[in-house]
């Protein structure tokens, strides 16, 4: 064979392998012809580069009908139909498909490509299941569910979809590792048996709780997973936890059961109904799908979906009609069993014995497998795994609530405490009998009336006064529990309504934000949704009991209003403030009875902080400062009580930061300094305690950055610049973690600050370079999301700063170009949120700059127009509220000077 034909043959081999998703090593390829290695390498480089060029060209081609023309990637490593994903390697193989690690060449990030294995039929069961997984996952929007970024087909018509790439370990791996490590530690004597809960269980349960909340969300959206197990739960860095593999998921009807929730639904008809229209009808297994189940041949009847060890009895029996949310709860219970014992509940060899074991509940108790498991935790596990669905927890939220109680060392509902312990707890905590009465929520009232009628009958039938008194005492206790249970149900229903509304509102706001021409529709839909929110809010006002759920509900509603923003007929700021105030009042009222309740103190502190947050954009700065100061006072008190508690430290740190922000806004740098010093000190302490936590590191960077502002204001420019550079480096380090959009933005913010300091040091050239780097980030963010308020605002800030640097550097023309780009963005922002004083002032600032530039160019007419607009803006503001900030006062003076220059 000649060298030429051998080379051809080697390149054929290379081509074949890469189309299969592999990246063959040239050395390996040329093992039998090492003298051709160089030629092979040259060719590979050329082909890869030229194909990259070609892919790039294909990316934005569009057809006449506006849809995207795609690229058949059969002949290149790029398997995506949009030709933007470059395969790096195979990552995992499953029965249905394979997962490839790829690089998104547009956004420059790793992604996971899930591709179906070769399949002949377009309508095959495998294909349907694969597509269903994509569809269902794509419709679920939750941080615990891996988002689908794109879908398509490869060149051979096999469906594939693109997901966020998650790197981590499964819960199965984490549990095994934790138990093995503990066992090893006890053998070596480095850890004690009594540390089992602290060292093994608590960390894992924290993650498990997150999983429960994710599943609860899915149930709320009408989706059951049907294959929950430790291997389908991913634990990534920094606490990120995911439920994966929704290939067996099924949609059930939304079925919101309560009057409250249904009421809320009616008032968001335009939105929920459209959500409902997208729902897929309940899907049963097709005959084909039954045939691909691994268990069909063994059961002989029906179809079995799921993984044996974690499968519910009804699933094991193939009872499709009974397989629903309760089945998922069972699987979560079985997962919990594994978590505490490192062994699945069912471990048998013969599959028939397996089915018997599951359907009859024959498996060892968790404490038989691991004696260190606390009895109360075992009871939670067993309740979730009850044979009959009705005997399990009614919802995943209930299971999660019991787990939280266990983690907080509170009694759990699944566990029957010894009698004495129970009496002691009731006498400490029992308030319901004294407070409930017969008024209150309708549900509670009905329960009470009916129960009291029964009670009366029982007492009347009593044969002696003593017996009647005993009956009464016993029944009082039962009534209190029933009322508590009914109230809990009502709380859950209100929570569900709120959660539904929050999800709907968020979806409307986000999905329509970027749709051209949809602004009006978006506003209308949000207005309707807010009406629903009002309805839910009103029901809270009929509650006469003060409790933490009510505080949380008011705060939640306030936050939703803040998120929605001011609409035409809805002053969301006022609504938000009202609810935060309600939350605060309820909390303060409750604190009178239990002044040392730290959680309650936190609730009040959070409400005050939220009040401050909403008062600032309303321009009520004095009131905002007062709210922050009150919030901080509570946080400081809590910190004194528990100085080593990270949450307390964090809350206090936030409090110091907020107070300092207010002082800095007024230019009171000297007063702000001690607050920021304390803030940064606390953040540093927190990071020292938990250095891997990215969120804590970010808080520290933000605090240090603000301290940099203080140094700058004190004219300690070198120190300020050094601090900002440190923050920029810190941000870069955090950008390596997933979802680093916030860190990128932080870097841009710190670059802006560094640029400002450099300007103050008269180093305009370096300032321009630094602003240029920030501009790059801001532009990319803007292009990714042009309708986002944040991205537009950030872009306008850096454009303005660069313009300042250009003027300082003697390039007014460049400044004019930058400001001309900045002006329409600021006008847009100021118009969209006319109630936001800061935006009006920023717009006036740009107008003043442009006026000044035009005056210098002897363009008096243009200058006058800009000045007129700026003056009108500030006049409008000053009529509504005082212009207290340092920036506002400086601007007023500047406008006055410009007016004088213009000669009038």
């Amino acid at each position: 064979m000649t060298d030429e034909s051998l080379l051809q043959s080697l390149m054929d081999e290379w081509d074949t392998q890469r189309r299969a998703g592999n990246l063959p090593d040239p050395e390996h390829l040329c093992a039998r012809a090492p003298h051709l290695l160089s030629a092979v390498r040259d060719r590979i480089s050329a082909i890869v580069e030229m194909e990259r060029l070609f892919q790039k060209q294909e990316q934005t081609i569009s057809r006449d009908d506006g849809s995207f023309v795609t690229f058949h990637a059969k002949d290149s490593p790029l398997v995506s139909t949009e030709a933007r994903y470059r395969v790096i390697r195979s990552y995992a193989q499953g029965g249905l498909g394979e997962v490839l690690l790829a690089e998104d060449e547009v956004l420059r990030r790793p992604v996971a490509l899930k591709r179906m294995k070769a399949d002949t039929g377009k309508r095959s069961a495998r294909r349907q299941r694969f597509l269903r997984e994509a569809m269902i996952t794509g419709q679920l929007d939750h941080p615990g569910i891996v988002s689908i970024l794109n879908t398509g087909e490869d060149a051979s018509g096999q469906p594939l979809y693109v997901m966020k790439f998650i790197e981590g370990e499964t819960l199965a791996e984490a549990v095994r590792r934790a138990h093995e490590s503990f066992a090893e530690g006890t053998r070596r004597g480095s850890v004690r048996s009594q540390d089992f809960v602290k060292v093994v269980l608590r960390p894992l349960l924290g993650r498990f709780l997150t999983i429960c909340n994710t599943v609860a969300y899915a149930h709320g959206q009408g989706v059951v997973h049907r294959d929950l197990k430790p291997a389908n739960m991913m634990l990534a860095d920094f606490g990120a936890t995911y439920v994966v593999d929704w290939g067996l998921a099924k949609r059930v009807s939304l079925g919101v059961k309560s009057a409250l929730a249904a009421d809320a639904n009616r008032h968001v008809e335009g939105t929920l109904s459209s959500v409902a229209e997208t729902l897929v009808p309940d899907e049963e297994l097709t005959e084909d799908e039954q045939n691909i189940s691994p268990m069909t041949s063994l059961t002989g009847t029906g179809a079995v979906i799921g993984t044996p060890a974690y499968m519910s009895p009804e699933q094991a029996r193939g009872e499709k009609a009974l397989t629903g949310k309760a089945s998922d709860i069972y699987s979560l219970g079985a997962t919990l069993y594994f978590l505490v014992t490192a062994q699945p509940p069912i471990t048998v060899d013969s599959s028939m014995t397996w089915i018997d074991a599951v359907t009859s509940g024959r498996y060892p108790m968790p404490r038989e497998r691991q004696s260190l498991v606390p009895a109360s935790l075992e009871s939670i596990c067993l309740k979730a795994m009850a044979l009959k669905p009705d005997d399990r927890y009614a919802s995943v939220l209930e299971l999660a609530a019991d787990l939280e109680r266990w983690l907080n060392d509170d009694p759990v509902s699944a566990f029957q405490e010894p009698w004495m312990a129970r009496v002691a707890r009731l006498s400490r905590r029992h308030r319901a009998w004294t407070q409930a009465g017969l008024a209150g929520l309708a549900v509670v009232s009905i329960v009470s009336i009916f129960f009291l009628w029964q009670l009366q009958a029982k007492v009347e039938r009593a044969e002696s006064a003593e017996l009647a008194a005993t009956i009464l005492a016993g029944e009082k206790s039962k009534l209190a529990e029933k009322e508590q249970s009914a109230r809990k149900t009502a709380d859950e229903q209100a929570s569900l309504a709120l959660a539904t509304l929050r999800s709907v509102i968020f979806r409307i706001a986000r999905n329509l934000e970027n749709v051209e021409g949809a602004a009006e529709v978006r506003t209308q839909l949000l207005t309707t949704a807010v009406q629903g929110l009002n309805k839910v809010a009103k029901t809270l006002e009929t509650r006469i009991e003060a409790d933490r759920a009510l505080i949380a509900a008011h705060n939640d509603i306030g936050k939703i209003y803040m998120f929605v923003g001011n609409l035409e007929k809805v002053n969301s700021s006022e609504q938000a403030l009202h609810h935060f105030q309600q939350a605060r009042q309820i909390g303060e009222q409750m604190l009178k009875e239990t002044p040392n309740d730290s959680s309650l103190q936190r609730d009040v502190s959070v409400s005050l902080e939220l009040m401050g947050d909403i008062l600032i954009p309303m321009g009520r700065l004095d009131e905002a400062d007062k709210a922050y100061a009150q919030s901080l006072a509570i946080s400081e008190q809590r910190l004194k009580q528990t100085p080593d508690d990270i949450k307390c430290m964090q809350d206090a740190g936030f409090g110091y930061e907020k107070v300092a922000d207010g002082l800095l806004t007024r230019g009171e740098t000297a007063k702000a300094r001690p607050y920021l010093e304390r803030c940064v000190g606390l953040y540093q302490k927190i990071v020292d305690l938990d250095p891997k936590n990215a969120s804590y590191r970010r808080d520290l960077i933000v605090g240090q950055s603000k301290f940099g502002n203080v140094l700058r204001n004190e004219e300690r420019y070198d120190e300020a610049a050094a601090l900002f550079r440190g923050c920029i480096d810190g941000c870069k380090a955090l950008e390596n973690i997933p979802d680093s959009g916030a860190q990128l933005r932080d870097r841009a913010v710190n670059l802006n600050k560094l640029g400002s300091v450099l300007l103050l040091q008269n180093n305009s050239a370096e300032a321009l370079r630094v602003f240029g780097e920030s501009l790059e980030i801001s532009r990319a963010a803007f292009q990714a999301d042009p309708r986002s308020v944040t991205s537009r605002h950030d872009l306008s800030i850096v454009l303005k700063r660069m313009a300042d640097a250009s003027v300082a550097g003697g390039d007014p023309e460049k400044a004019r170009v930058l400001l001309t780009e900045c002006l329409p963005i600021r006008r847009e922002l100021a118009t969209e949120d006319a109630a936001n004083q800061a935006l009006q002032v920023e717009l006036a600032g740009v107008l003043a700059d442009l006026c000044s530039l035009e005056l210098d160019s002897n363009q008096s007419d243009k200058a006058a127009e800009y000045l007129k607009e700026a003056e009108a803006l500030l006049k409008g503001l000053s009529e509504k509220q005082r212009l207290e900030g340092a920036e506002e006062k400086t601007l007023l003076n500047r406008l006055s000077e410009l007016r004088t220059k213009l000669g009038g």
Partner: protein, 208 residues
């Protein structure tokens, strides 16, 4: 779901038109032009995307008109034997039109340099802009690129025409050309290697 590629023009339909054209049916010429239009529009947009400075002063339709004029003149004298031949002619005509315009209008020495904007004039070459070309490196690169494709050996040029200029898959290109897919793969690899070597790689900025 992103749609899978499928051409708007039906290959069989084109073949039927060619048969009718060979029989002297003039209506087939119109029909061919209509079918070719959709392909050419796509190609023109694709090509203009590469020539960012050309795009700044030529609307897609102007380029399309130019290419269609060329194609029409070609069809007046020649009846393509097959779809492949028609597609190759279309690719050649677009390529030539873009190279011509880029040579004429591009670069600091080009006619576009430093001219004032003239509003309202919409003839094929009538609109110029004041700015100098923004991407001299890119423009030069792409001019050379397309000229090199013009000079490729016929069998390699055929593959380049169908894959690069028409965006067909290797399988579709093989079917259109009546050769094996393996042969198309080999030709494609050779096209990439020859262009890359002749152009000395890909300059920075071109891939951005």
């Amino acid at each position: 779901m992103v749609v899978h590629l499928s051409e708007t023009a039906n290959t069989q339909e084109i073949n039927q038109c060619l048969i009718r054209l060979r029989r002297g049916d003039d209506t087939a010429r119109e029909q061919l032009l209509q079918m070719a239009r959709s392909r050419l529009l796509k190609m023109a947009r694709r090509m203009l995307k590469d020539f960012s400075s050309v795009r700044s002063w030529e609307e897609t339709d102007d380029v399309l008109q130019n290419a269609l004029l060329r194609l029409c003149r070609t069809l007046d004298h020649v009846v393509p034997e097959s779809t492949a031949a028609l597609m190759r002619l279309a690719a050649r005509d677009i390529r030539c039109a873009l190279i011509d315009m880029a040579r004429h209008y591009g670069g600091p020495q080009g006619a576009a340099g430093n001219h004032e904007v003239r509003g309202g004039h919409s003839s094929v070459f009538g609109r110029v802009v004041a700015d100098q070309t923004q991407d001299p490196v890119q423009l030069t690169y792409w001019t050379e690129f397309h000229e090199l494709v013009n000079r490729l050996p016929d069998e390699l040029q055929a593959v380049a025409d169908l894959i690069w200029y028409h965006g067909l898959t290797q399988a579709d290109a093989a079917a259109t050309l009546g050769i094996s897919e393996r042969t198309v793969q080999r030709h494609w690899r050779e096209v990439c290697f020859q262009l890359y070597s002749a152009l000395g790689g890909i300059p920075p900025g071109v891939l951005e």
